[in-house]
């Protein structure tokens, strides 16, 4: 997929292909080489599996003082990391599942998000919390949640969800250098995807959406793994003359709504995709801001595609239909652009429908993961 070119335009560096996970590893390694205040702390960061290899080699290179295994004490250790961050360090706290971070909401919401404000700017909390959405292979209701809207509700936190390896590396570097707590949410189904990544250190801003694909018929706003599904859907739709504009939000707090408004001005139609639930979610926020600011440009009420409003089931026989995918997106787009049903919808669905097992991101994955 196209990588972002809006930043670092003058970057003169060798590009090569890395996957998303490798890009994260490289970001941490390169910034730790430059900045001794950066530390990595988490359950598994220095173990043989190294958080799906995203912290591979770091403890060997930087030692156990900077790459630290931690007790199973998510709230306490989040507080310890905040204390470090207040004292001149830049800790990266890693949770193998975002669900584990729920144990640390007190420290994240009451302290990390508030201390700079309540102490009138006299304290900063440069903390990154890496959290993985663990969808797939029967992870079930407590290992696969998409909880970004929970964090995005909180003033004082930044919440980012990159899609591409390029953005993964550039945004993780920006997050580490940022003087605020940044919730860095990684979708496990992106880890194997490859893309061009510069060898050198570079930055992608934490407050800018990215127009991934231009199109004049409908605006599809998406982020994280749903961007991959949207691109697959758009490729098929294009063959039938439907030109989809895809905007990858990349961050959910703050929300960069300007490119969405500009796009809706041209297309008049909006479909929002979410990896999470609908109620009080990110998709609703994007729709609200669009309606507030560009109502006059909308030809029809906007629509959204989200998870059903119930927890994730474990059995693949239940989960397969739980997750929206490219086929769902084609359905959503057609419901807005083709009300008269002139296009061969069934044929299009069949073209995007996955025929391999749907509880893993691609056939190369084997359990457990």
């Amino acid at each position: 997929m196209p990588s972002s070119t809006m930043d670092n335009k003058n970057l003169k560096t060798d590009m090569r292909e890395l996957n998303f996970g490798e890009a994260l590893q490289e970001a941490q390694q390169q910034i730790m080489e430059r900045d001794k205040s950066v530390m990595v702390i988490g359950e598994g960061v220095a173990d043989p599996k190294s958080i799906f290899r995203t912290t591979e080699g770091l403890v060997e290179q930087f030692g156990p003082d900077r790459v630290t295994e931690m007790p199973l004490a998510e709230n306490g250790m989040t507080g310890v990391c905040i204390g470090l961050a207040m004292s001149g360090f830049r800790p990266i706290l890693v949770h193998q599942r975002i669900d584990f971070a729920l144990l640390s909401l007190d420290q994240l919401i009451n302290n990390a998000a508030k201390l700079h404000y309540v102490f009138n700017g006299q304290v900063t909390v440069p903390l990154v919390v890496r959290m993985l959405i663990g969808r797939g292979w029967g992870q079930g209701p407590q290992h696969a949640q998409s909880l970004q809207s929970l964090f995005a509700h909180i003033p004082g936190l930044k919440v980012v969800m990159p899609t591409t390896p390029y953005d993964a590396k550039g945004m993780l570097i920006s997050a580490i250098e940022d003087n605020n707590p940044v919730m860095f949410i990684e979708h496990r189904w992106l880890y194997h995807l490859k893309g061009d990544v510069p060898k050198d250190l570079y930055r992608v801003p934490l407050d800018k959406a990215n127009v991934v694909k231009k199109g004049k018929h409908i605006t599809v706003v998406t982020y994280s793994h749903m961007t991959i599904e949207a691109i697959a859907a758009a490729q098929v739709l294009a063959e039938y003359g439907v030109e989809v504009e895809i905007i990858d939000m990349r961050t959910v707090r703050p929300i960069d709504i300007a490119p969405v408004l500009a796009s809706v001005k041209n297309t008049g139609l909006l479909l929002v995709l979410d990896t999470g639930w609908a109620s009080c979610g990110v998709s609703g926020e994007i729709m609200a801001r669009t309606v507030e600011n560009a109502f006059q440009h909308l030809k029809k009420p906007p629509k959204r595609i989200t998870l059903p409003d119930h927890p994730a089931p474990t059995s693949r026989h239940l989960a397969d239909e739980y997750y929206p995918d490219a086929e769902t997106i084609v359905q959503g787009v057609l419901s807005l652009v083709d009300e008269e049903q002139k296009l061969p919808a069934q044929e299009m669905y069949e073209r995007v429908r996955r025929t391999s097992l749907r509880d893993i991101p691609n056939p190369a994955y084997v359990g457990p993961f």
């Binding site: 003082d65 931690m70 007790p71 004490a73 709230n75 306490g76 250790m77 989040t78 507080g79 310890v80 990391c81 905040i82 204390g83 470090l84 961050a85 207040m86 004292s87 001149g88 360090f89 007190d106 420290q107 009451n110 302290n111 508030k114 201390l115 700079h116 404000y117 309540v118 102490f119 009138n120 700017g121 006299q122 304290v123 900063t124 909390v125 440069p126 003033p155 004082g156 930044k158 003087n179 605020n180």
Partner: protein, 325 residues
């Protein structure tokens, strides 16, 4: 009272306690005016712990507090004017009016922050202490909390990690036997708080929290151990909260502490005990006490006048500092 030796500067300890007592009395006396429009949790009766512990600290050591932290802030050298102004919600307050009594900070003095979620600052202190160890500095961090906090999981998470990494943090439990209106016996089984801290691997000290000399002695030992690399230390001091959980009044009328009388309080008064010692061992005269009283009262009154003369914060700045640059 523990006997005074050459390591104890009792006049300085008494001065520290007196400043806290008079500042809080002034808050209590003016609170009915309804101009200090935030909750205040007064520590009158518990001053010896803040004063005795902080007397052993250097400017470069850091202290974290809790919802009841006027005493900790002042004992560590926090700016009195900025604290009173903060309680009045003034622009000159230590948080510019964003915090009030329950959020206090004075970084130059080494008072690194107080917040009102019980247990909230405990891991922050461990993080600060870890930073000293990583930077190979001989500073210590200190966190004050109550017996109620001992029921919070985060405290045990923090003690476990501090012991694991031999972090120079001093955990100070001010055991006043009360969480709001609920006594300790209704919240914890009969067993020793400090014994559990010991089981976590901390060095443990227990003492009379109303005896400033005893507090200073024990804290001195604990701080020296933490500073020399022996890891985290735990101090448990029994004490007594004179006022209600929150607010400016005694609450004997509620009947939840049936033993309580003015006599009961005075028997435990850490200042009264120090007065006896100053007369007997330091030969203090009425005049010596009067001079100190006068100076402290003038300082406290000046802090209130500073606050009254201070501007209110500009409401248009209300959203500032939501994010750091």
């Amino acid at each position: 009272m523990k006997s005074v030796d050459s390591t104890i500067d009792l006049p300085a300890l008494y001065h520290s306690m007196l400043r806290i007592r008079r500042a809080e009395e002034a808050i209590a006396n003016r609170y009915h005016e309804q101009e200090m429009r935030c909750p205040v949790h007064l520590c009158i009766g518990e001053e010896a712990i803040a004063s005795g512990v902080c007397a052993n600290l250097k400017l470069s050591d850091v202290v974290f507090g809790n919802h009841r932290s006027h005493g900790h802030y002042l004992a560590k050298g926090g700016n009195l004017n900025a604290m009173i102004a903060e309680i009045y919600g003034k622009a000159t307050g230590c948080c510019g009016g964003r915090g009030g009594s329950m959020h206090l900070i004075d970084n130059p003095a080494g008072f690194a922050g107080a917040v009102p979620i019980v247990g909230g600052t405990v891991p922050l202190a461990v993080g600060a202490g870890w930073s000293f160890k990583l930077k190979q500095k001989e500073h210590v961090s200190v966190v004050f909390f109550g017996d109620g906090c001992f029921e919070e999981g985060v405290l045990h998470e923090a003690m476990n990690f501090a012991a694991l990494k031999k972090i120079p943090t001093i955990f100070v439990c001010e055991n006043n036997g009360m969480s709001v209106y609920t006594p300790l016996v209704e919240r914890q089984p009969i067993r020793s708080i400090s014994g559990i801290a010991m089981a976590h691997g901390l060095g443990v000290y227990t003492g009379d929290g109303n005896d400033v000399v005893e507090v200073a002695h024990l804290a001195g030992e604990a701080v020296a151990k933490a500073r020399s690399g022996e890891g985290p230390q735990f101090l448990e001091f029994k004490t007594y909260r004179w006022f209600g959980h929150v607010g400016h009044e005694f609450d004997d009328d509620l009947g939840y502490r049936p033993d309580e009388t003015q006599q009961f309080r005075e028997d435990r008064c850490p200042l009264k005990r120090a007065v006896q010692e100053l007369i007997q061992k330091f030969g203090w005269s009425d005049k010596d006490f009067a001079i100190m009283e006068e100076n402290v009262k003038a300082e406290v009154e000046a802090a209130f006048q500073f606050s009254f003369a201070s501007p209110d914060p500009n409401p248009q700045t209300s959203g500032d500092h939501s994010y750091a640059e």
